[in-house]
């Protein structure tokens, strides 16, 4: 089954709570900065996403959307 996480890079503050919450470790901090100066996360290994949505559940900025 295909699943994917969509990151709203403008809302993300790079706190990385999603990164260490993800059981598959697929989220990573980007080297790019957003307009607020934060490094948002991006999905480094999209093919590994199971769509469990734990990342979004723990995201304090409602910056993640999960599709399955």
């Amino acid at each position: 089954m295909l699943a994917r996480v969509v990151v709203n890079s403008e809302r993300c503050k790079g706190c990385q709570i999603c990164c260490f919450t993800c059981p598959k470790n697929i989220l990573q901090l980007s080297t790019e900065t957003n307009s607020k100066g934060y490094n948002p996360v991006y999905v480094q290994f999209p093919q590994k996403c199971t769509g469990c949505a734990l990342c979004a559940l723990m995201c304090p900025d409602v910056a993640l959307e999960v599709w399955k």
């Binding site: 809302r11 919450t21 559940l57 304090p60 993640l64 959307e65």
Partner: protein, 259 residues
């Protein structure tokens, strides 16, 4: 094509505006906001809800909740909510208050709103300090916890002991629902979601006062990175403040005979 069958399993609640939160990176206020918005969405209450913002980090909640809002003075949100609810009993009224606001300057207002069994919902964020003003001691600061006004750690001999709000309110007959939850893990966030929803359902049913105390992180003022802050929340804060439901359902109290 697979895309045609794709379903959104986690999205943005419609009871939040699209304004980005002003909170510090890793601060769990945002999770609590989302849970409140999801409860309002799930129960289809958005068009009948009036929120009351308090003073502290959550002062700007009126920018985030996509419903009618009033901004209250420090600690007085339960009184303001009472005024709204008495005028429009059919609207759903909630306050969103921090521990500086609710447990310090607002103790009279919260105790009496609870004692009256006021049919409102209170979301109480306990992050053990005054966040907005720079991390001073709150009534909820843990014994030994360092803040800017307890630089050597809270010495209970001088600064007294913390207030356990749920336990305090559970001594009253007025409340219909009281719960303490934490945001330190996905499991606990799901429990928090359930409790917040239950609190709103309590109000919808007209059962009376409901309050959910949400243990929350303050990475900036705790001086901890977000991950460590979640661990501190789990290992220290949630230990001092036991999680669980303290009241589930209204109490019946018989009136004395009139003179």
């Amino acid at each position: 094509m697979a895309v045609q069958h794709e379903k959104r399993v986690f999205g943005y609640p419609s009871s939040l505006t699209d304004a980005p939160f002003h909170y510090c990176p890793g601060c769990t206020h945002g999770i609590a906001h989302r849970l409140v918005a999801e409860a309002i969405d799930d129960l289809r209450l958005k068009e009948h809800t009036v929120g009351v913002a308090s003073v502290g980090c959550s002062v700007f909640t009126y920018n985030y909740f996509n419903c009618d809002m009033q901004q209250a003075s420090h600690g007085r949100a339960p009184a303001v909510a009472t005024g709204i609810k008495r005028v429009s009993p059919e609207t759903i009224v909630f306050t969103y208050q921090g521990d500086g606001d609710l447990a310090s300057i607002g103790t009279a207002e919260i105790i009496h709103a609870a004692a009256r069994g006021e049919n409102i919902t209170v979301i109480f964020i306990n992050n053990t300090n005054f966040g907005m003003t720079g991390g001073q001691m709150a009534p909820t600061t843990l014994p030994g916890q360092k803040t800017t006004t307890t630089p050597l750690g809270r010495d209970v001999k001088k600064a007294g002991y913390p207030l356990r709000v749920c336990e305090l309110l559970s001594a009253l007959d007025g409340p219909a629902y009281l719960a303490r939850v934490s945001l330190h893990s996905p499991k606990e966030v799901l429990r928090a979601k359930k409790a917040i929803r239950k609190a709103f359902e309590t109000q919808v049913a007209g059962a009376g006062f409901s309050l959910v105390e949400v243990l929350s992180t303050c990475p900036t003022n705790w001086g901890l990175p977000p991950k460590k802050a979640l661990e501190y929340l789990r290992d220290e804060v949630a230990k001092y403040y036991p999680l669980g439901e303290f009241r589930d359902g209204p109490r019946e109290v018989e009136a004395c005979s009139t003179r």
